[in-house]
């Protein structure tokens, strides 16, 4: 039996980004004793990097906005593959979640009449993003961090202990979920990054809020934490992942210098008037308006420019098409030889706004380019290109409670959950997603725990021993002659995923990726790390690597199976979007025995959209996405 530090809680939240913190606040307010576990220091989570804003149809900038318009935009952005119930809840509840942040102390930018200001963004019909300059994610994280502190202050007043009912375990990494023998969550196994010591958390409910998977790709806007931990933990615990083939490449990442390649350039640059140009100085986005969006976007520069000041009488600029469309367009321009010197395209705001206005509205972007690339964005255009930014796929959950399908007591919210964004997420819909579903996951977990009463699942000692042995394996050396360095295996994985399962995919290449993943897994098994367990980044990477490999396998296998192009999945050999594929989800599960220690892929039918939601769309639009049989009952159907 392994002697380890132990703690018992009602609810365990893994991840301290927006979703995790909002979940923790809700669970605590519903009377739960809550622990938040995070890989970094408290307040450093990836959410701080969100720039543009948080989408909510408050109607402050345009009174025509409402949840129905937001719902429609979200479904269109996701090419109707979205879980419609999640999209509905999200659109309905986002305004309340934003307003609630003000009661925690958040300070958003204001309109002239003192309300929360809202900005334009890709795919959103009206200015909808609550924002603070271009550092909205930082505001969200800090606001909720400070709300957690305020709940701890309340506990301190009542009990004399700040951490009596809500504690943050920072720089602590969960390596395995623990279950009882009835397939119920019983806790989690983790190590302290600082000391390398192990710790067991006993809790009947676990909320995964671990974010995304971008560190499996070479060019990414994601931080080191994005190693797909929650995705992999859910899989290994018997949960299921959906939509893993859909990976969002943000159209505008920095492309130069090489060391900053991939760092995000906010969509807010385009929302505030910036335009994309090729090496000939042409605004090329007018050539890339896809069939399904024809009529919704301006087809000439004059109308597009009028739209900024008169949106009611002009159509929006195609620079603000959904991200998948813009990323593909940039890719095509570069391929056609019309790219910028460092292999991107130009994003020009300097010629369109005054230097003062650029510095006021986009201070981080100004700073970032000045400091890292020696480029003054108020005087010259930026060079930008696609960067791996977000995974639409994730844990399959019940839309109302965020309970994971297949494992009792497991919940997931935020990027680690799948379904909400369909095949492509709109900018601004992530921060609102975190708030809406973070809160719902906290409530769902609290309800589940209350329903259990005193009959709590127990951690088995055998599982603790197994988890412990698995975590120290990289120190033990390998029987084989060839020993692998974790950094090298990680580097090779990133290069391979970028080259073979990137923004444009082909059958032969993706099949090659699946084969290479088998090789990489074999190499990862031979990884040996130097030194000891105290704050050892080589060891940390060796553990994270297992998760990245598992999740990459999901992405590659699902990408090979889906023979169409939709949102964040573009198959050069199957360029069309197929209505029959819209009805299908690809579901990944983990089969350690039968399928050679790998990912099992299955097809699942979509739940048909509720009639009243269907009626929010014109028949003519639905025809572009649905099979005739699915819309036969639509009131707008012409006989």
């Amino acid at each position: 039996m392994t002697e380890v530090e132990r703690h018992a809680y009602d609810v365990l939240v893994i991840g301290a980004g927006g979703a995790g913190l909002r979940a923790a606040i809700e669970a605590r307010q519903q009377g739960m004793r809550v622990a938040v576990i995070c890989k970094s220091l408290f307040g450093k989570a990836h959410t701080v990097m969100a720039e543009g804003g948080c989408a909510a149809s408050m109607g402050n900038a345009n009174a025509n906005d409402n949840w129905q318009v937001h719902f429609r935009d979200t479904m269109r952005g996701g090419k109707f593959l979205n879980n419609w119930r999640m999209a509905e809840l999200h659109a309905k509840e986002a305004p309340d979640r934003v307003w609630e942040l003000e009661t925690y102390g958040a300070l958003f930018d204001r309109t002239a009449d003192g309300k929360i200001s809202q900005r334009n963004f890709g795919g959103h019909t009206y200015p909808r993003l609550a924002h603070v300059g271009d550092r909205t994610g930082l505001e969200l994280i800090r606001t909720m961090q400070q709300k957690i502190v305020s709940l701890q202050q309340d506990d301190h007043k009542a009990t004399g202990d700040y951490e009596a009912n809500l504690k943050v375990y920072a720089e602590c990494t969960v390596t395995d979920l623990l279950k009882d023998n009835e397939n119920r969550i019983a806790g989690a196994f983790a190590y302290w990054r600082e000391s390398g010591r192990f710790v067991v958390f006993e809790a009947p409910a676990v909320i995964l809020a671990t974010g995304g998977i971008g560190k499996s790709f070479k060019v990414t806007s994601n931080s080191w934490e994005y190693t797909g931990d929650g995705h992999a933990l859910a899989l290994r615990a018997g949960g299921r992942l959906i939509n893993m083939e859909f990976v969002q490449f943000h159209p505008t990442g920095m492309v130069w210098p090489p060391s900053v390649k991939g760092i995000l350039v906010t969509e807010g640059v385009r929302g505030d008037g910036g335009v994309l140009k090729n090496s000939e100085g042409k605004r090329f986005m007018f050539d890339y308006i896809p069939e399904v969006f024809k009529g919704q976007y301006a087809d000439n520069e004059e109308e597009a420019d009028r739209w900024y000041t008169d949106p009611d009488n002009n159509r929006r600029t195609p620079d603000l098409l959904p991200r998948d469309e813009v990323a593909r367009a940039i890719n095509s321009e570069v391929k056609a030889g019309r790219g910028s010197p460092h292999g991107g395209v130009f994003l020009d705001i300097a010629s369109r706004k005054s230097a003062e206005e650029i510095q006021r509205r986009l201070p981080s972007m100004y700073h970032q380019f000045k400091e890292l690339a020696d480029v003054d964005i108020t005087a010259e255009p930026m060079e930008v290109g696609p960067t791996c930014h977000y995974v639409m796929g994730g844990v399959e959950v019940d839309p109302d409670t965020e309970a994971a399908v297949g494992v009792s007591g497991l919940f997931a919210a935020g990027e680690v959950a799948g379904g909400m964004h369909g095949s492509n997420r709109l900018g601004g819909n992530s921060l609102s997603d975190l708030l809406v579903f973070g809160r719902r996951a906290g409530a769902g977990a609290a309800e589940y725990v209350q329903g259990l009463g005193d009959a709590r699942p127990a951690v088995t000692e055998a599982d603790v021993d197994t988890a412990s042995a698995s975590a120290v394996k990289p120190f033990n050396g390998s029987d084989a002659d060839a020993v692998e360095n974790p950094y090298t295996v990680h580097h090779d994985l990133q290069q391979m995923m970028n080259d073979l399962v990137g923004i444009i995919r082909r059958e032969g290449e993706v099949a090659e990726a699946v084969a290479k993943l088998t090789e990489l897994k074999a190499r990862a098994a031979k990884v040996v790390v130097e030194g000891h367990r105290q704050f050892n980044p080589g060891w940390h990477l060796a553990i994270d690597l297992r998760n990245m490999l598992l999740v990459s396998e999901c992405v590659a296998k699902a990408a090979l199976e889906r023979t169409e192009s939709r949102g964040g999945h573009t198959r050069e050999d199957h360029p069309r979007m197929e209505a029959t594929w819209r009805k299908q989800l690809l579901v990944c599960s983990y089969d350690s025995a039968a399928d050679g220690d790998g990912i099992h892929l299955a097809h699942e039918d979509q739940v048909p959209m509720r009639e009243d939601l269907m009626a929010l769309f014109e028949y003519d639009e639905l025809e572009k996405y649905f099979t005739p049989g699915e819309i036969v009952e639509h009131p707008g159907k012409k006989d």
């Binding site: 970094s40 220091l41 450093k44 990836h46 701080v48 990097m49 408050m58 305004p95 309340d96 307003w99 609630e100 003000e102 009661t103 925690y104 102390g105 300070l107 958003f108 930018d109 204001r110 009449d113 003192g114 309300k115 200001s117 603070v132 300059g133 550092r135 930082l138 505001e139 400070q146 709300k147 502190v149 305020s150 202050q153 301190h156 600082e194 080191w224 210098p257 090489p258 060391s259 900053v260 760092i263 995000l264 981080s364 700073h367 970032q368 400091e371 890292l372 360095n485 974790p486 950094y487 580097h491 790390v529 130097e530 030194g531 000891h532 105290q534 704050f535 050892n536 980044p537 080589g538």
Partner: protein, 246 residues
């Protein structure tokens, strides 16, 4: 463009440690953190360093580079000559855990001692109304990425371990100023700033402002105005009179 740089990195733990020399490749456009990562991937796989975003947004990779408190991800190698020795050491004010990683828990303890935002009574969510010009003062302070370089450099803390108990440091005095200047915060923040959080220790040398990677005017816009509010309260003869009467 690539060249071999001479790095000198502090390696060790809470007991002992020393500067270790490395010759390591540097490429065009790189920052100090890139070079530290290359060291990890080659010569020193167990070199401990904190980092997250590598874009100057999270405030994790604070260290001292040639003695100057800086973010490693925002320090370009082009600011050094190719022959210059680049010395990287952990923040000095906080106890070392290992290599470049320090124990910054002091900051989280101080954060907990500042009473949270006090929502205005009778204003429902969605009914908050504030003017841009009024929120901008606090917004400047909310740009803080909590890299703790200001607390690291503040001489009140840097050479005086004993002051940590009674001094919140520039970061959290600024947090008090942020709440005090919040247009709708219902609490009075002024007396506690002086009496409980040590505002009086600050003698406005502006070291904190100089090292702030976000360019926040900590001294001019947060600390001095707070000192003025304390002075108005404490030394205004009229309020002194009222206080005595109570």
């Amino acid at each position: 463009m690539a060249y071999l740089a001479h790095f000198r990195v502090w390696r060790g733990d809470s007991d002992k440690g020393d500067l270790v020399d490395y010759a390591i490749e540097v490429n065009e456009g790189e920052v100090v953190l890139d070079v530290i990562h290359r060291l990890q991937a080659t010569d020193a796989p167990d070199l401990a360093v904190r980092w997250n975003c590598k874009a100057g947004k999270c405030g994790s990779c604070s260290a001292e580079i040639n003695g100057r408190p800086r973010l490693m991800c925002m320090t370009r190698m082009s600011t050094f000559t190719e022959t210059e020795i680049v010395t990287v050491t952990p923040m000095r004010t906080f106890p070392v855990i290992r290599d470049l990683v320090t124990d910054v828990s002091y900051n989280y303890e101080k954060a907990r001692e500042i009473p949270a935002f006090a929502p205005p009574e009778g204003v429902a969510p969605g009914e908050y109304r504030m003017q841009q010009v009024d929120v901008e003062r606090s917004q400047e302070f909310r740009k803080c990425i909590e890299c703790f370089l200001c607390n690291n450099t503040c001489h009140v803390l840097r050479d005086h371990e004993e002051n940590k108990k009674s001094f919140a440091g520039p970061r959290f005095l600024m947090r008090i100023a942020e709440l005090e200047m919040h247009p709708l915060d219902a609490a009075d923040r002024v007396p506690a700033a002086q009496d409980e959080h040590g505002l009086g220790f600050c003698n406005i040398t502006k070291c904190c402002t100089e090292v702030c990677p976000e360019g926040i005017h900590i001294t001019d816009n947060a600390l001095i105005p707070m000192k003025e509010r304390v002075a108005d309260r404490k030394y205004d003869p009229l309020t002194m009179l009222f206080r005595r009467k109570k």
